[in-house]
C-alpha cells in the first residue's frame, strides 16, 4: 500500500507539473496585462516571481535578453499580480546603459508602460525587479506598436 501511495504521489507531481493548469493564474495575468497595453500587437511576455532580497543587499531581479529591430516602435508594459507583495518595475538596457524604465527615480513616478523607438537592430536586455527588494509576482509584456 505504501508503495502504491508513493507511485501516486509521483504521478500527481508529474501530472501537476506538466498540466497547463499549473500556470493558469499566470496566463490570466499575461492576458490582462497584454490587453492593458492598449491598441498594440503582443509579441512576448516575461513572467517573474522573485523572493525578497536580503537587508542591505541588491534587490533581486530577473533578466531577459531580446532582439529589437531598427525603425520600430515598441511598448514595454509591466503588471504586478494582484496578490504581489512588491510593486514591479521594468528597465531596458542596451549593453550597460539604461535606456528606458517604468520607474522614474528622480520624480518617484511609476508608469504602467513606456514606448521605445528603436533605431538599432540588436540584442537588448530587460530587468524586472520589485521596489525595495520585496518579494513579488509580475509579468512584463513586449508589444509592437508600428514601423517608424
Amino acid at each position: 500500500m505504501r508503495q502504491l501511495i508513493k507511485t501516486l504521489f509521483s504521478t500527481l507531481l508529474l501530472v501537476g507539473l506538466t498540466s497547463p493548469l499549473f500556470s493558469q493564474d499566470n496566463m490570466e495575468l499575461v492576458g490582462q496585462c497584454a490587453a492593458s497595453a492598449g491598441n498594440v500587437t503582443y509579441l512576448k511576455d516575461f513572467p517573474v516571481k522573485l523572493d525578497a532580497g536580503t537587508p542591505g543587499g541588491k534587490p533581486p531581479s530577473a533578466k531577459f535578453s531580446l532582439l529589437l529591430s531598427k525603425n520600430t516602435n515598441y511598448r514595454f508594459t509591466i503588471c504586478s499580480a494582484p496578490d504581489s507583495e512588491g510593486e514591479a518595475m521594468l528597465q531596458l538596457f542596451e549593453m550597460n546603459n539604461l535606456i528606458g524604465s517604468t520607474y522614474n527615480s528622480t520624480t518617484g513616478k511609476d508608469y504602467p508602460s513606456f514606448d521605445f523607438k528603436c533605431q538599432v537592430t540588436g540584442v537588448y536586455h530587460i530587468f524586472i525587479s520589485f521596489k525595495d527588494g520585496k518579494a513579488g509576482d509580475a509579468v512584463g509584456i513586449l508589444s509592437f506598436i508600428e514601423r517608424l
Binding site: 501511495i5 504521478t11 532582439l67 529591430s69 537592430t121
Partner: protein, 300 residues
Amino acid sequence: MIKKCFYILLTVCMLNACGSCGNRGSSSDLEVPDTLMYSDAIIPDDEISGFIDNMSSPVEMAALIKSLDVKFSNKYLASTDNVEDFSTEYQQALNLGIYGLDLGYLNMYNKTNAVLDYISAIKTLADGINVGQFFDFATLRRLSQNDQNLDSLMYISVHSFNQMDRYLRKNKRSNLSVLMITGVWIEGNYLVTQVYKEVPHPELKEKIGEQKIVLDKLMLFLEVFKNDKQLQAIANDLKPLKEQYKDITITIQKGEPQAIEKDGTLVFIQNDVSIVNITDEQVKSIIAKTEEVRNKLISK
C-alpha cells in the same frame, strides 16, 4: 488512514487529469519525448540561459512588408499539403516555426480564409512534439471564421507559440525550441528576400543585411548542441548562407537619447544611426542561398 490518503490522492489525480483533458491528446501526454532518450541531446540549464527572445518575429517581419504597401501573395507560403510527412521531432519542430511565420504573414494581411489550413498544420506538428496542449486550436478555428477577430487571432497565435517555446526550454527540450526559432527565421528571411526580388525597396535591402546579426546568434545556439547530429546537419545547411553575410558590415553612429512624456505615455527615443553596408551582388547571393536552404528544409 492509509486507505483514506489513497482515495484523496486518487481523486486529486483524476481531477487534475480531467482538468487538462479538454485540449490535450490523452494517450500521448505521458509519452517520453524522443529527445529525452538521447543523453547527448540534453543541455544543462546554464548552457541555454543565454537565450534571446524575439529572435525572429513573424509579426514584425510581416508588418515591415505590409508597411511598404506590398500586396499579399500566397506564393511565398510553405505548402501545408505534406504536413503528415514530417515524421521526426526535428522536422516537426522546424516546420512548426516555418508555418508559424506564414501564419503571422496571413494574419497581418487578414487572410482568415487561408488561416485554417495553417492552424491545422501547426496543431498536427505541435501534437507531434507533445506541445499541442498549448495551441488553442478550437478557439483559433472559431476566430478564423470571422475577419473581425484579427486582434484575438494574433494574440492567441503568438501567445501559443510563446508557451510552446517556453515549455520546450523548461523541459530540457531546448534543441526543439532552437529548431522552431530556426524555422521562423529561415521562413522570415525567405519571405523578405522573395518580396525584395519583386519590390527592391531600400528598407527590405537593409533588413536583409541586418539578418547577419540574427544568423550569428542563431548559429551560436545551434553550436551549443554540438553532440546532436540532426541539429548539426541543419547548422551545416546554414553555414553557406552565413558565408554570404561575412562581408556585410553594420556601423553605428551614437546619438543622444531622448525621454519625453506624450499624452501621459513615457517615450524613449534612441537617436543612434545604424548603417548597413550591403551591395546588390551580396543581396543577390543571399536571396539565392536563402531560397536553396529554405526549400531543402521544407522538403526533408
